[in-house]
């Protein structure tokens, strides 16, 4: 009898707890520190999710993805992607979104076309167009999600070059009702607005992630950039930074994978293209300078082993000897193709099995030939060499270049002008330069300074260096990087320019180095996923990788409004990773020692 009573008792207690927790499940409870991507895309617009995820990964934000509205509504911030028409959401799903925001959540979206959500976003209408050429931001309201946008060029997002194109990217201009507009298109419609609803907030962009992130990052942005090189061009960064600033505005503490090694302010990446006879010897002077400052640079080398109408076969034993010395001085040796052709973008992909023996660079040049054979030569001729970094001649960027690089054993590429793609952050390149292409394992490091083509001269040396330093400063404010290309065909004033830069930058907490070192950091960063827990004033970050697989310098930025004073990082085994901490402005930077 007693046993029966005990069993009944246990069952009752069990049922009691089940019923209690069952009841609790019905309430909206936020997953506190991550954001969620609510994927409402279909086959036709799935690049929207790809674009958003790209942005989140570059910015290092912790996120989950779901297609279920009720799941998404458990998070404090929902980034909703897809063409949001009235039919895209069921009435119950729409209501769930309304309730989530009303209860204090945040909802970020673009291309909202269904009027059933207008009230939530505080708009009353929209108009799509491909004839808007810029969006101008008005930060006068002091909105914290615009905090990164403090420079004149950060007030305008270029959408396409009016002089070259009649129609550019798709945009959606809104008419606001209760929302506050903070950016407007050139036709007067609203490009970005926010709206308070209940205790929560919504943000609405008139530019989709496909148009604002993916199209620039494959270099097809209708020549939207204001200048092609040597300028500060943050057009794409504005979207990236605002995406993260919204997270920082809503979540406390906001924690993200930091973009710079060792919690430093910014990164300055030095590259040299050896594509002239004189370059190889001059490289030694640059390498010695870099050694003096204790930094590394990447030397991209043209392995021109046969002469053509442009030049002699300067990839010759004496120059190879110089390269070996450069490497001994600490320089990284990278590939700069075989023949440094201006026409590489129109080369066929070619045979992936090509070797120096089979390649006919003058008769049948191919992408694989340029990529593989140059690596083959460098790996053979340079002691201890495994070539992993690549740059085309003239920054030529064939559609399938990244695919060929990955197939050929490269890890890093630096072919995009950061000004051209309006982005000052590295990113994982797409296999091909078209929408819908898969993300590759190649890290793309855009170059933004170039001293060639008379840009840097003896007579403008000080002016140009000052301008570069100014741009480095702007990028540092955004936790972005700056990559320079100096051709060693001339040493003198170019060497002086580099020396002046290093003298200035070495006084500051700025990471200075070569493509492969930074690329390795970035590639490692891409592998990291993390979970967050708060204990009083302590924050625990648990990684998905074992400590040995995490590079020194990998770290996190924490924006916590003084809530957090202790941070520990654990690896996938639960072991504590030794860290160092820096504090700057309103953030804590914690990184692996």
């Amino acid at each position: 009898m007693k046993r029966i009573i005990n069993i009944i008792l246990i069952i009752l207690i069990g049922m009691t707890f089940i019923s209690i927790f069952w009841g609790k499940k019905k309430e909206i409870s936020f997953s506190p520190y991550k954001v969620v991507v609510l994927d409402l895309t279909t086959k036709d617009d799935q690049t929207e999710r790809v674009g958003l995820e790209k942005a989140l990964r570059i910015m290092g934000m912790p996120y989950d993805v779901t297609k279920k509205v009720d799941e998404a509504c458990r998070y404090k911030i929902v980034y909703m992607v897809g063409q949001i028409t009235n039919n895209r959401l069921k009435a119950s799903e729409r209501e769930a979104l309304y309730r989530a925001v009303e209860a204090g959540g945040a909802l970020v979206a673009n291309t909202v076309k269904g009027n059933t959500l207008f009230s939530l976003f505080g708009v009353s209408g929209f108009k799509e167009s491909r004839q808007r050429f810029k969006a101008t931001i008005d930060p006068s309201g002091g909105e914290s999600f615009l905090k990164y946008l403090n420079r004149q060029k950060e007030m305008v997002i270029p959408l396409g070059n009016r002089n070259l194109y009649d129609t550019v990217i798709w945009t959606t201009g809104y008419t606001v009702s209760t929302a506050k507009p903070v950016a407007g298109f050139d036709d007067g419609s609203t490009a970005l607005c926010y709206n308070y609803y209940g205790e929560g907030i919504t943000y609405l962009w008139g530019i989709g992630y496909t148009q604002s992130i993916l199209i620039p990052l494959i270099g097809q942005d209708y020549e939207a950039q204001r200048k092609w090189i040597n300028s500060f061009e943050p057009g794409t960064d504005i979207i990236l930074l605002t995406t993260r600033a919204i997270y920082e505005e809503i979540i406390d503490p906001a924690v993200y994978l930091y973009t710079i090694p060792f919690g430093q302010e910014s990164a300055f990446i030095i590259t040299h293209d050896n594509d002239a006879q004189s370059s190889f010897k001059n490289s030694l002077e640059f390498a010695e300078l870099e050694k003096r400052f204790g930094v590394r640079a990447t030397y991209f080398n043209t392995t021109k082993y046969i002469p053509d109408e442009m030049d002699i076969a300067y990839y010759a034993p004496d120059n190879i000897a110089y390269l070996n010395q450069v490497k001994e001085l600490g320089g990284e040796i990278g590939s700069h193709t075989v023949i440094h052709s201006q026409n590489i973008a129109s080369f066929p992909l070619g045979n992936p099995g090509v070797t120096m023996g089979s390649y006919e660079p003058l008769k049948n040049p191919t992408i694989f030939g340029e990529v593989k054979v140059s690596k083959e030569l460098l790996d053979k001729d340079i002691r201890g060499q495994n070539t992993v970094s690549f740059r085309s001649g003239h920054l030529g960027f064939p559609r399938e270049l990244i695919y060929a690089l990955q197939k050929s054993g490269y890890h890093y590429d630096s072919d995009f002008s950061g000004n051209d793609i309006m982005c000052n952050f590295p990113f994982m390149a797409f296999s091909e330069r078209n929408l819908g292409s898969k993300e590759s394992k190649i890290v793309e490091i855009p170059v933004i300074f170039d001293g060639s083509m008379d840009q840097l001269r003896q007579d403008n040396l000080h002016q140009m260096v000052a301008e570069w330093l100014r741009i480095i400063e702007f990028n540092a404010e955004n936790e972005a990087i700056s990559c320079i290309l100096l051709h060693p065909n001339v040493a003198s004033f170019k060497l002086k320019a580099e020396e002046m830069l290093l003298e200035e930058l070495s006084k500051r907490d700025i990471w200075i180095g070569c493509i492969s070192d930074f690329g390795e950091f970035w590639a490692n960063r891409q592998l990291i996923q993390f979970e967050l827990e708060i204990f009083g004033d302590g924050l625990r970050i648990t990684l998905n990788l074992h400590e040995k697989d995490v590079l020194p310098g990998i770290g996190f930025a924490i924006n916590s409004s003084n809530r957090i004073s202790r941070v520990t990082i654990l690896d996938s085994e639960g072991s504590m990773i030794p860290t160092s901490t820096k504090r700057r402005k309103d953030k804590i930077y914690v990184y692996k020692k």
Binding site: I5, I8, L9, L12, I13, M15, T16, S19, I20, W22, G23, A91, E95, Y98, E102, A103, N115, T116, L117, F118, S119, L120, T178, Y196, Y197, G198, E199, G200, I201
Partner: protein, 466 residues
Amino acid sequence: MTHNVKSPILRAPKRDFLSLMILKIVKKILLFTSIFLLLFPLGCGKVDKGLKDKALGWIQSQIVPNTIVQSPSPDRRNLIISYELPKSDEAYRYIYSRSSIYDGAVAAIALSMYGQQSKAGDILEAFARLVNDDGGLFFSYNTHNSWPNQGDRKGAIIRIGALAWVGYATTYYLTERKIKDPDAFKRSPRVRLLTEKSMAMASYILSGMVNDREDKRYGLVRGGYGEYQLKYDAVRGKVVEHFIDQTVGWCSTEHNIDSYFFLRDFGRLTGDEKLLEASDLIKRSIILKLWDDDLGQFIQGIKADGRLDNKLALDCASWGSIFLWAIGEDGKAKRSLEACARYRNISGIGYRPYRGTKVYEDLGVNAFFFPSEPEKQWDSINIDWFEGTLGVITGYVKCGRFKEAAGILEHINKFYRKQKKDGLPYSTCLLPYQFNTYPSVASTSWYLIANRILKDEAIRMRFCSK
């Protein structure tokens, strides 16, 4: 085996026996607790836990989206449908989704009083989103579509009293939030929005104030915009509504009292001197121009041409007593409360809305509805108007006459218990265009308010305070 199991207990020393007894008791407590906890969540919502829960649950069920309007017009989410209309009602297809702002306002106050701050805030924010550019709100809104709105307002009226109630309910909500969590109050976007829109509503009300010192309505606010007049159409043999599309010129006692409370309390909350001065002028004008010492209550108002509107209205007595108590006119408050007795429905349990006048002002209309008694007056109508009756109860409570209040409330409780529907009906008599018998948000909300202020002194003091 049995022996082995029992023997230790049988042989146990006294101390062990006591321990076992305690264990048994603990087990029993656990058992009963478990049964209670098990049944509690399952039972919630199924077992009638009292009229107040029934009323609160029903009020919440009237908020859209709900079973009546599953996909409301998005800008009308969280408005509250005023009545639970049966589909058989002739007007169902026109007004089944209609939400009157006054009803929403009193519902928000009731919800606030019962700790449902969030729900109250939802309703009030829905109003805030609907506030017109000039600070006005229409008297009522469809919830299933977007009529009326600023672009399509044909047939829509504005009533200052209803608007003032929204302002007052918002002020009440804001004040409660400020008391409960001053830090969150400062940060909340909802608080910011409600404050901003309340200021717009206050400005709208004051734009209707009569400022000409020579005018008999000086210092009072006008009624609003648009009116419906009932006429008998002899050709069609039916009663029709005529919409008069113009600004209202009359000033009513009720609207001015509503406005007084809103402007005064919102002025106190925000420290806005202009609002405090305006409310003071309204107060003085009400006393000076609308008090009838012979009747011992306020008259209904002043017409546009300056003539007095002497119609005897329960509101003017009951609501008037609350106002008089709040401004320290205790003697007049007492007389006003006593004047309510003239509206008592002797054959029922509550109070009539009017006395001494025809049920329908227009004789043709009156004759249409009462063909055997064309001059039919309110005095002979057997109607218990619950919203009005609960206003009387509130008057008694505010004036400290709790016993009388509890007595009337008990009659309503008995009636309410017998109702099949969860909402308290608007009245006990169907008078087309005026009174119905359907579960009503106004009645049910006032039922909750009256109960709450009767039981809770702190809330009693904060609601329509001195």
